[in-house]
């Protein structure tokens, strides 16, 4: 099985380093994830190459600095671990992929935490921190998640139609 990890387009050193750590990789391996694709952005993980393949703890890893599109990576993945940016969260949940989010606490105007905990309360995803990522993966049951509702444009269409005088 394949796990896709994205830290967003900026940097999130702690998350990128955590997923490459021995304990997290072991947990992933135990759960059957033998392949990992990481988009690290500008995070510092001791890799300078744009893209690099390596193998650690029995997991084949592909580390990318930046991918032009992560759509196919999400589609291929059996599990996604991501920062809690709303764009990525919506994309992953709409594709019906199990999602563990780790809010980035270093962002100035931090609202990632709010979104993560609210969506977790509704059962759509699992929220973790860098500190408890390993335990979260070990205890994660994708089947316990609530399916995310599909996009429904009718409410906004009705609102604009009403504002513009279409009945």
């Amino acid at each position: 099985m394949l796990v896709f990890v994205t830290v967003g387009s900026t940097k999130f050193d702690a998350l990128a380093q955590a997923v490459l750590s021995e304990s997290v990789l072991k947990s992933l391996h135990d759960k059957g994830y033998k392949y990992l694709v990481l988009q690290r952005g500008n995070s510092d993980v001791g890799i300078s190459e744009e893209t690099l393949s390596l193998r650690r703890e029995g997991v084949d890893i592909e580390a990318w600095k930046y991918k032009a599109s992560i759509q196919t990576d999400i589609e291929r993945a059996d599990l996604v671990i991501s920062h809690s940016g709303s764009g990525t969260v919506l994309d992953v949940l709409r594709l019906g992929k199990p999602l563990i989010v780790v809010p980035n606490p270093t962002l100035l105007d931090n609202h990632q935490e709010e979104l993560a905990s609210e969506l977790e309360n509704l059962g759509y995803l699992k929220a973790a921190s860098v500190g408890n990522l390993q335990e979260t993966i070990a205890n994660f049951e994708p089947s316990s998640l609530v399916p995310f509702p599909p996009f429904d444009g009718s409410a906004f269409r009705a609102l604009v139609d009403e504002e513009m005088g279409f009945q």
Binding site: D91, H111, E118, G153, L159, E163, M164, G165
Partner: protein, 237 residues
């Protein structure tokens, strides 16, 4: 001297009243349904694509509209944001493919406008006023000057409705619309949709614009509490 002072006070008073009238919405500006939009069956729409998650949300909102009603469409994109421009083109192509052949005149009726950013990421606060001013000048051109020379005639605003989702530069665009209103030119209705990411607190753009725009929509119920100006209608994206 006293005449100059007197006329100065009078002008100031007039400007204050006008500003207040615009911001309070009194006298109430009629909705396009109540105006004679030259009996047009279509409305023009403009949307600001703020890059990243903002662009994703704005594109989902636009995709919800019936393109045979909302035409032409203007996508306002920040300078250098090729990804947003690309997303706009992709949506237009997929919509064109799904529209029936009887609607061929509705196809490809869109344009992409590029505005300078009010503030680049990591830009020094010292130089922000000058880039914001450049951005404002361009927005004024887009909102007030360009429509004067449009084929549709100057009685039509640059768009009938303007959809905003943040961030920064959309405030500048909104200021340009306010100035346009101030001098009495036809202006778009502004619908601001706060980002899905905002659960318990408004964004800076949201806080700046919530008293100014015609409709202010939030996507989490807590944000609409204790304020009737903020509407909650469930998730829109």
């Amino acid at each position: 001297m006293s005449i100059i002072t007197f006329s100065g006070v009078l002008i100031l008073l007039a400007l204050t009243v006008r500003t207040f009238a615009i911001l309070s919405g009194y006298p109430r500006r009629p909705k396009p349904s109540e105006q004679n939009l030259s009996n047009s069956k279509t409305r023009s729409v403009a949307v600001f694509l703020g890059s990243g998650g903002h662009t994703s949300e704005a594109m989902m909102l636009v995709s919800a509209l019936d393109f045979s009603r909302y035409t032409p469409r203007t996508y306002v994109v920040s300078e250098g944001d090729t990804l947003s421009a690309h997303k706009a083109t992709t949506l237009e192509q997929s919509k064109a493919a799904s529209l029936s052949s009887s609607n061929t005149q509705m196809r490809r009726q869109y344009n992409i406008e590029i505005v300078p950013r009010a503030r680049r990421v990591h830009q020094s606060l010292l130089t922000t006023p000058s880039t914001a001013l450049l951005s404002l000048m361009f927005c004024i051109y887009l909102v007030s000057i360009k429509p004067l020379f449009a084929k549709s005639g100057f009685r039509r605003p640059f768009a009938d409705v303007l959809i905003l989702n943040g961030p920064g530069t959309c405030v500048i665009l909104c200021v340009a619309v306010l100035l346009n209103k101030f001098i009495g030119l036809p202006s778009p209705r502004i619908i601001y949709v706060e980002s899905f990411a905002r659960v318990r607190s408004l964004s800076l753009s949201g806080r700046l614009l919530c008293r100014i725009v015609d409709r202010f929509i939030v996507q989490w119920p807590e944000l609409a509490r204790r304020d009737s100006r903020k509407e909650y209608r469930g998730w829109l994206v």
